[in-house]
């Protein structure tokens, strides 16, 4: 036991004196988690709290365009600003450039006429189908009578959302106009005001419920998405320090002397595993503490720990053990420190991408979704998500821990084969 204790002390001392290694294992992931959460959170807020700024150029003098703008405003997604209807298309584009505006909607001069014509056409068809006499005068119906200018920096998913919102507002105006016409044709009097208001205001609320194991209605925030992900990244990045330390030991004379001493190198390996498992635990505590304590001070959403803390500790231990085993494997097979650092860093970035740390797995192409399982980081992330986002328990994460355990055993077996082949044990 004294041998193991002395070896852990030796490894810890060397680790604490490796300033670059410490920087990579602690400072880099801390910066990453703060920056990425900050960026992602501001993206959420762009759509959610702040509202997207949108210029409206209403060239129509009819009443339906006013109703359209009002409907658009009620959707709550945009901060609308009316601009002069005298501006030409070129002037509007120029205005967007100079004021750095993301979106401009042009309501054409014939908006009311076009929507009315469409409503008339639909109500006529409806009356005919009821067996009544409707106006079936053929009217040429174009597509959307609106034009949307957007800055190319606006990502596609936002553009799709904006388009849907515009369609939704347009639909409200058009449906109401159709109904008003139908009502008038049948009852020969205008649609009552209260019914019209109900039509305009009566937005159907959608009950949004996250699918959680516990049935909790807590909505996950950007911190709960990012903190576990970057903690896993940090854990696996110990490959730089641990892999490098193994290579240094191999290429320096100290390894030669260790081979002549009456102690098996498995003691050295066990010490490295314990020491660096400790490092991964400290990394987790530090990064989680940042999510809990620092994020609110930085106006970022606070991290909420899962209810099953024991499961959180066990998942963290499994992830740490897998990360350390991976680093040992790299360290044993690399012949130089440059190899260990290069292969280690690049492989972790690739495995992170495949595992869904950078882009969620569901958003990846089918092929990458299919191979996500080859990355141990994927299983780590899935286990954490089950705890953080779905309020899962230990029993729920077991299907994720099993593959992690298998990967760990395989990595350690490969490491032992490597040690034997290289006559290091």
């Amino acid at each position: 036991m004294y041998k193991l204790w002395a070896t852990i002390k030796k490894d810890t001392r060397i680790l604490l004196r490796d300033k670059v290694g410490l920087l990579l294992m602690f400072v880099m992931p801390i910066l990453l988690v703060i920056i990425v959460t900050g960026i992602q959170n501001s993206t959420f807020e762009l759509m959610d709290k702040s509202r997207l700024a949108m210029l409206i150029c209403n060239r129509d003098t009819g009443k339906l365009s006013g109703q359209f703008v009002e409907s658009l405003n009620r959707i709550g997604m945009f901060k609308l600003q009316q601009v002069s209807n005298k501006q030409s298309d070129a002037q509007l584009k120029n205005l967007m450039k100079t004021r750095n505006e993301l979106l401009t909607v042009i309501v054409p001069a014939d908006f009311t006429a076009k929507v009315s014509a469409r409503a008339k056409n639909i109500s006529g068809k409806a009356l005919n189908s009821f067996g009544l006499q409707g106006d079936t005068t053929k009217t040429k119906l174009d597509g959307l009578p609106l034009t949307l200018y957007y800055q190319p920096v606006l990502q596609e998913q936002y553009r799709v959302s904006v388009n849907s919102a515009l369609k939704s507002a347009l639909q409200i105006v058009q449906s109401r106009e159709t109904l008003r016409r139908l009502y008038f044709e049948i009852n020969e009097k205008p649609l009552p005001e209260n019914l019209e208001k109900e039509l305009l205001n009566g937005q159907t609320n959608i009950s949004q419920q996250p699918v959680s194991v516990s049935g909790s209605r807590k909505v996950p925030n950007a911190s709960e998405h990012n903190v576990p992900g970057w903690t896993i990244f940090a854990m696996f990045f110990v490959v730089i320090s641990l892999g490098g330390s193994l290579v240094r030991e191999k290429v320096s004379g100290s390894f030669i002397r260790l081979k002549t001493l009456p102690t098996d190198f498995t003691v050295g390996l066990a010490s490295k595993m314990i020491t660096y498992l400790g490092v991964t635990m400290v990394q987790t505590i530090v990064i989680f503490a940042i999510g809990l304590l620092l994020f609110p001070a930085l106006h970022l959403p606070k991290l909420h720990l899962p209810a099953d803390l024991l499961a959180l500790v066990i998942v963290t231990l499994f992830c740490g053990l897998c990360a350390v085993s991976y680093a040992i494997c790299i360290g044993i097979f690399a012949n130089t420190q440059e190899q260990a650092n290069g292969i280690g860093a690049v492989s972790i970035v690739i495995l992170s991408a495949i595992g869904g740390l950078m882009v969620p797995s569901f958003a990846m192409p089918e092929f990458f979704q299919a191979i996500a399982g080859i990355s141990p980081l994927h299983w780590c992330l899935e286990a954490y998500y089950k705890l953080f986002l779905e309020d899962g328990t230990l029993a729920d994460v077991l299907p994720n821990l099993l593959p992690l355990l298998v990967v760990t055993v395989v990595l350690l077996s490969i490491a032992f084969v490597g040690l034997k082949r290289k006559k290091l044990i």
Partner: protein, 251 residues
């Protein structure tokens, strides 16, 4: 005392060649080093001194033949036989990021000492080798001579019965060389068998009572200094060395 017990090191009919077939080959090498000797292995570069030392310490495994330490065969005994000997490699074989005391604490534990024994031996060795004042300084800040003394201290921390030294004084000043030689003589007086390789022929005079001249994997002459010079009618060891190994460059 059995015959086997008389020898600290026995090399019997040793055959060795590197896998890539480079370097020196040993064909049926035999060598017996009696207990308590100060055995010096001298030879030109590439003669096979370090290879032989690696075979005697179990770092390399021969294709056939046997190496025994104090009657125990190295290949068959696993790690237990390693308790019997100490090894001071030519390279600085320790952790430069640690202090001498921290290095000795770690290597003491790996050499099989208890915590108390390690602490005791660390204090003793740092004192003897003049490192007590710098015991808490990182070794990477040391001079070459100080590093040599740390290298030696680690090799003897567990008071081995046989001590292998591969050029332990290379690159040191006269004072450090003198201190190291004196300490080795003291260890030998206390019963440690020394097996020593060097290029420094003068050290053969100062340290060794049994000298082997080694070249191309073969012992070409062996005896004490005086008898070697008498047998080959030379007045100095250097003359004897050049006479037996030639004057051509070897590397």
């Amino acid at each position: 005392m059995g015959v086997a017990d008389q020898y600290a090191v026995e090399v019997n009919n040793l055959n060795f060649r590197y896998q890539e077939n480079s370097g020196v080959n040993f064909n049926g090498l035999n060598l017996k080093i009696p207990k308590g000797e100060r055995f010096g292995l001298f030879g030109p570069n590439g003669a096979g001194k370090t290879t032989l030392m690696s075979l005697m310490t179990g770092l390399l495994t021969a294709q056939s033949g046997d190496v025994s330490l104090l009657g125990q065969s190295i290949p068959g005994k696993g790690k237990q036989v390693n308790k019997l000997f100490g090894f001071v490699p030519q390279d600085f074989s320790f952790y430069q990021e640690l202090t001498p005391a921290e290095n000795l604490e770690f290597f003491g534990a790996w050499s099989g000492l208890s915590k108390i024994q390690t602490r005791q031996r660390t204090d003793e060795l740092l004192q003897i080798l003049g490192l007590a004042d710098v015991r808490n300084k990182q070794v990477q800040q040391f001079s070459g001579g100080m590093k040599r003394r740390v290298n030696l201290a680690i090799g003897v921390i567990h008071q081995p019965k046989v001590l292998f030294l591969d050029e332990p004084t290379v690159g040191v000043d006269v004072q450090t060389r003198h201190a190291i030689i004196n300490y080795l003589l003291q260890l030998n007086a206390e019963g440690t068998t020394l097996v020593y390789t060097s290029h420094q022929l003068s050290e053969a005079e100062d340290l060794c009572n049994d000298i082997a001249l080694f070249d191309q994997g073969t012992i070409i002459a062996r005896g004490d200094l005086q008898s070697l010079m008498n047998d080959h009618q030379q007045e100095s060891l250097e003359g004897l060395f050049l006479n037996l190994t030639g004057k051509n460059f070897r590397d």
